[in-house]
Symmetry: C2
Subunit: 106 residues, 2 copies
């Protein structure tokens, strides 16, 4: 479950701009602010089931975007290579500072 | 015009998976295979105007995706930093080989 939450958080981070404002609200309350489905339902004056369905559909959309654009997968691949670069450039301060710049772009 | 074509080609490269098969066909005939609007219209048995409208709408969609996800902008930023890294790592073969791996991930 924790692993799934981490993945959804990453996917949300990459693709949130492609969601509707309502989808973003539900997702960020549920995944970032740790609200329960019941609490979100109360906040928006809708049924718990409606919130649940919306969040499940949004998760499926995030996975569909990932299957098409692979932003999370590529991010993981680049992060791994950047770690290798850091190790290989150990104590070369100029190189390390450029690698930091690259990392901040992620 | 050449500059616009280059930009559309890049955006198409990044976001084509978010387009419909028909949008992809028109775009790739027009921008990659250099067909004219008339030739595409003939190929698909539709009016030249229909092809034109479809392509203009698709270009607008690509720009909208870019305004939300910034994949092309980030690609350009990373490419610049990778060039700096290469220059700073000159003649260090282990480092250069890792940088190549990073570049291939783009």
């Amino acid at each position: 479950m924790l692993e799934k939450t981490t993945r959804v958080n990453f996917l949300y981070d990459f693709y949130q701009m492609l969601l509707t404002p309502k989808q973003r609200s539900y997702m960020s309350l549920y995944y970032l602010d740790d609200y329960s489905l019941g609490e979100i339902a109360e906040e928006y004056d809708v049924s718990r089931q409606a919130v649940y369905d919306n969040i499940r559909r949004t998760e499926a959309m995030l996975e569909e975007y990932e299957s098409k654009l692979l932003l999370f997968q590529k991010f993981q691949e680049r992060t791994k290579v950047i770690e290798q670069l850091k190790a290989a450039a150990s104590e070369q301060t100029e190189l390390l500072s450029i690698i930091d710049t690259l990392e901040e772009l992620e």
